[in-house]
Structure formats: structure tokens, C-alpha cells
């Protein structure tokens, strides 16, 4: 899917109050087609309220929301026609079968009668539920229920998919299956909003993330962008064939852009002002007569970024 088509979601200064509680407090972000956008944050950060606002289940207290150019507060039915939502708990009609559940939701999402049976069968087969399609859902495992919930969210082929904690409560195997499904959807160009506090999952799946807390976006961007914002300087580990001599160590220190150098036997760790400096620095080391075995820039995981942001917020509050 072309990433430069019209913006899927536009949120500006969005606020939602419940009495005195600010569930969403001045949210501003955009989501482009084909993007996997993560809403990260602890419980109570405002992720689920944001999803409800974007789907027209709640009207905003102030600010503006556009989903496919539509206002969810007044055009909720049209918006929900274009969205599929995987709620935090799978919430199926447990006394009905998977087929009955999907047929019911297919009718409500206005899939034409003549196409409904075919589409339901297609989804049951895709999510490997066709063998037990007519069994009551209450007899299903958690993983099967989650797959059925995904099938329900995708049944009417919505161009925008919201996934609220998609792997919550699943065993590692089932979680891996669900993540693989999300990845395959993402590769097909599906726009996805992923609400999660599973950072490994978000790092693997998301193009960009918004780190939220108490209804506010604390940071927004891709992993690289956030990492650069938080840590403009970067560490690089360089391994040599043999330990550098005193003059070579001096040469390694005397390079513009180097802030700090540590040497331990044949391993040199240098703190550079930015990642862009690395190639020139490596060239400088080679020209200084050092034989390089490997160069490893230290990357920050989403977990590092997330906690740096959340801790920064706490320190700011103190």
C-alpha cells in the first residue's frame, strides 16, 4: 500500500474528561496508510479511551478527531464500517459456535447476504478454526478465542484495524501465532493501531509509537527517532586484531566528534556525538594503523526508550 495516500487518522489536541479525571489530555498524532502505530503505556494511560474516541463510542470533551476524514462523534456508523477492533478481552458469545458468532457480526457489519457464508468460511479456514467451526466457543482454548476475535475484527475487511492488547493472557505459543498474523497483515499493507504494554511485541511490530501516560503523549516517533531524541550521543564498540598501542589509543581519542573513549585489551568503546560519525571514525581508526575485526554501534531497545521516557516524566513531576 502507498504510504503517501491520505492520512488515516488525524488527532489534534484531543481531550476526554470523566468528571475531574483527564483520561485523554491533549493528544495529537497522525497515522498514515499501511502504518503499524503503537500506543504504549501502562494501564490507565488512556490507550483504550483513545480507541473508543476514534471509533465514536465516546464523544471528545474537546479537540478534533478525523478517521478517513470522518468525524467519529457524528459519523460513528461510517467510521466503524471502516474499522475492525480486537477488544482486550475476546468477548464472544460463548454459548454460540464460531460460525454463528462470525455470521452475526458479519450481518451487523453489513456484509451482503450472498457473500456472508463464503466470507465466514474463508475466515474460519484462514484462522484454522474450520475444524471446530460448529462447536460452542465456550469449549475453545484462549488461543482459539483470540484467533476468533481477530477473525471477527477482520471479517468485513476493514482498512483500519485496532488491536488492544492482542496477546494478553495468551501462552507463548499462542502469542507467537497472533504476532505472526499481525506481521503478515502488516506486510500486506494493513493499517494497524496496536495498544500494548508488551514492549518486545511493539518493537517487533510497530513502525512508530506514541508513549502515553495519564492521557498524554510523552514521546512520539519511530524507534530510531526516539532513540536519537533521547540519546543524541551514541556508543560504538570496536574490536581490534590486537590491543592498540599508546599512540594508537591517543589517535583514537583525538578525533572530532568523540566524547569519550575506553579501552580494554583489544576492545575499544567510544562515545560519539551521533551515529552519523561512525563511518568517518572507523576510517580514522584504520588510517591510524589499527586492524579492525568488528564494529558494533550500541542500539537502544524500545524498552530502554520507554523507561527513559516514563522515568523522565516521573523525574519531571518530582
Amino acid at each position: 500500500m502507498d504510504k503517501h495516500m491520505d492520512t488515516v487518522i488525524e488527532v489534534k489536541e484531543l481531550h476526554r474528561l470523566f468528571g475531574d479525571i483527564r483520561a485523554v489530555d491533549g493528544l495529537t498524532f497522525e497515522v498514515q496508510p499501511g502504518e503499524v502505530f503503537g500506543l504504549l503505556g501502562p494501564n490507565g494511560a488512556g490507550k483504550t479511551t483513545t480507541v473508543r474516541l476514534l471509533n465514536g463510542l465516546l464523544p471528545p470533551s474537546s479537540g478534533s478527531v478525523r478517521v478517513f476524514g470522518l468525524d467519529p462523534a457524528t459519523q460513528g456508523e461510517q467510521v466503524r464500517q471502516k474499522t475492525g477492533v480486537l477488544t482486550e478481552s475476546p468477548s464472544h458469545y460463548e454459548r454460540l459456535s464460531a460460525r454463528e458468532n462470525l455470521t452475526f457480526y458479519g450481518t451487523l457489519t453489513e456484509i451482503p447476504e450472498e457473500k456472508l457464508t463464503g466470507r465466514v468460511n474463508e475466515m474460519l479456514a484462514f484462522f484454522e478454526l474450520d475444524g471446530r467451526a460448529d462447536d460452542k466457543v465456550e469449549t475453545y482454548s484462549k488461543g482459539m478465542k483470540q484467533r476468533l476475535a481477530l477473525a471477527r475484527a477482520l471479517l468485513h475487511q476493514p482498512p483500519l484495524l485496532f488491536l488492544d492488547e492482542p496477546t494478553s493472557g495468551l501462552d507463548p505459543e499462542a502469542a507467537q501465532q497472533v504476532n505472526a498474523l499481525i506481521e503478515s497483515l502488516s506486510h500486506k499493507g494493513q493499517t494497524i493501531i496496536l495498544c500494548t504494554h508488551n514492549l518486545t511485541e511493539a518493537e517487533r511490530l510497530c513502525d512508530r509509537v506514541a508513549v502515553m501516560n495519564t492521557g498524554r503523549v510523552l514521546a512520539l516517533g519511530s524507534l530510531v527517532e526516539l532513540s536519537r531524541k533521547l540519546w543524541p550521543a551514541t556508543w560504538v564498540d570496536v574490536k581490534f586484531w590486537e590491543a592498540p598501542s599508546a599512540s594508537q589509543f591517543e589517535a583514537a581519542k583525538n578525533f572530532s566528534g568523540v566524547k569519550q573513549v575506553q579501552v580494554e585489551s583489544a576492545l575499544l568503546s567510544a562515545r560519539l556525538e551521533s551515529k552519523e560519525t561512525i563511518p568517518a571514525y572507523v576510517r580514522h581508526l584504520v588510517e591510524s594503523g589499527l586492524s579492525i575485526l568488528s564494529v558494533n554501534p550500541r542500539a537502544h531497545s524500545l524498552e530502554d526508550i520507554y523507561f527513559a521516557i516514563q522515568n523522565g516524566r516521573k523525574e519531571g513531576e518530582q
Binding site: 460463548e94 450481518t107 447476504e113
Partner: protein, 274 residues
């Protein structure tokens, strides 16, 4: 409003309640008692006990019959003691009791539909569908009111058959239902069904479980008991006109309750309670 979706919601709720034994077992037992056991008792009793005992019972009933309008008193004047006893018990005394059924059926299904949906955590997914609030509301009304009316009518049909069959040896003809039963069945019963459902919707916003909603709506039975007391004491007699008038009053109450319910049944209110 989308009628295809309304139909799907109503059918889904019906399928769900059919699977809920706590809901349908009482709904099955009560009609069996009302439509079969009790009329059999009332009609066979005067045929099995000595005439003088029936006469003694009728003597007590005579005090109540004199309170009835003259046209009804005429019915008893033209019958034997045994026939009078059967008519009084099955066609008059027992009539208000039948209103418990539409009330019970609609409140059971309504409680399962409105509160059960929330209790089972399926409401949120339903709210994320494109269906309008009106479509969801209408689907749920139909889900609870239509089966309640149909089940009540079925129970009436069984009652009519049992009463006529069991009293055949005494009457030798089909004498039941009396005229007042027609507005009872086709005017008051649908109104009462709607009353049970509307009360459930209002109650559902204040309770958390199906059983709480069911028990609270059960308090509406007081209305039926008042009708019965009115009937026994002669204060309010369920004739054609009075039944029609009570039905009209209930329909008006329904309209007010539905109006209030529609106002409360919206996504913002519903999502707040999840």
C-alpha cells in the same frame, strides 16, 4: 434503522437465552402449572367432590359474584353450581394471573439481553459494530417482546384447550374464552410484555448481573397481584371495557418508559458501564 441487523440481533439474543437454562426453565415450568395443572384442578374438582361441598364453596363465592356487573351475574344465573364454580375460577379469578407470564418472559429475555450482554463482556464488541444505537435497541426490544408475546399466546391456547376439554362433561360445548379474554390476550398481554422489557432496560442501567435485573423486574408482579386482589374484592373487575382501559393505560406507561429508555440507551452510557 437496519432491519437485517435488527433481525440478527433478535435471533442471536433468542439463541443465547435458549442456551441459558437459568432463564428458560422457570419460563417453561410456570406455563405448565398455569395452563395445565391449575385448570385441570379447577375443572375436575367440582366433578369429583360431592355437590353439597360445591354448593358450600359457591355460597362463599356468591358474596363475590354479587359485586360483579349485572351482565356477568347473568352468566352465573344460567349455570349449574359446578359450572359456576369452574367459570368463576378459570375465567375470572385466574385471569390476572396469566399476566405474570408476558411480564416474566419479557423480563427474563430482556435481562439476559441487556444485562447478560454486559455481564458476559460481549457488549463492547457489539458497540464497535457499525449498527446504530437505534438498531441495537430495536433488536433487543424485539428479542424480548416478541417471544414473550408468542409464548404467552401459546400458553393461552393450551389453557383454552385444557379448560374446554376438562369441563366438557359438564358443559358439553366450547364455552371458553369469555369475551373479556380477547382484550386480555391481544391488547393487555402485548402491553404487559413491553412493560416488562422497558422496566428491564431501565433497571439494567443500575444493576450488574442478570439475576439482579431479573429479581428487580420481578417486583412488577405486584401490579398483577393488585389486579387479582381487585378482582377478588370486586373493586376492579376484568371485563371487556376495563381490560381494554387497563391495557391502554399500560401502553401509555410503556410509551413513557420506552422514551426514557431510548434516552439512556446510547454508546456513551453503555460503554461507561463496561
Amino acid at each position: 434503522m437496519n432491519w437485517r441487523s435488527i433481525r440478527a440481533i433478535a435471533l442471536k439474543d433468542y439463541k443465547e437465552v435458549r442456551q441459558n437454562k437459568a432463564a428458560w426453565i422457570p419460563a417453561l415450568v410456570l406455563p405448565l402449572i398455569f395452563a395445565v395443572a391449575m385448570p385441570l384442578g379447577f375443572t375436575l374438582l367440582p366433578q369429583l367432590i360431592p355437590t353439597e361441598d360445591v354448593a358450600q364453596e359457591m355460597g362463599d363465592l356468591q358474596d363475590l359474584i354479587v359485586l360483579m356487573p349485572p351482565a356477568i351475574q347473568q352468566i352465573f344465573a344460567e349455570t349449574s353450581l359446578e359450572q359456576g364454580f369452574i367459570i368463576y375460577m378459570t375465567a375470572f379469578l385466574f385471569a390476572p394471573m396469566f399476566l405474570i407470564m408476558p411480564l416474566m418472559f419479557s423480563s427474563i429475555i430482556g435481562a439476559d439481553s441487556f444485562v447478560g450482554e454486559r455481564e458476559r463482556k460481549t457488549m463492547e464488541a457489539l458497540l464497535y459494530t457499525p449498527s446504530s444505537d437505534g438498531t441495537l435497541f430495536m433488536g433487543k426490544i424485539i428479542a424480548s417482546v416478541v417471544p414473550a408475546i408468542l409464548l404467552s399466546w401459546f400458553t393461552y391456547a393450551v389453557y383454552i384447550i385444557v379448560v374446554n376439554a376438562a369441563s366438557w362433561p359438564l358443559f358439553g360445548r366450547i364455552w371458553f374464552p369469555l369475551p373479556a379474554w380477547w382484550p386480555l390476550m391481544f391488547w393487555l398481554t402485548p402491553a404487559i410484555s413491553l412493560l416488562g422489557m422497558a422496566a428491564t432496560v431501565l433497571i439494567s442501567s443500575r444493576v450488574k448481573t442478570f439475576m439482579e435485573a431479573y429479581q428487580l423486574t420481578g417486583s412488577l408482579v405486584i401490579f398483577v397481584l393488585l389486579l387479582m386482589v381487585g378482582q377478588i374484592s370486586g373493586v376492579l373487575y376484568l371485563g371487556v371495557f376495563s381490560t381494554f382501559a387497563i391495557g391502554t393505560l399500560v401502553w401509555l406507561v410503556d410509551a413513557v418508559l420506552i422514551y426514557i429508555s431510548v434516552g439512556t440507551f446510547n454508546r456513551t452510557n453503555l460503554i461507561a458501564k463496561i
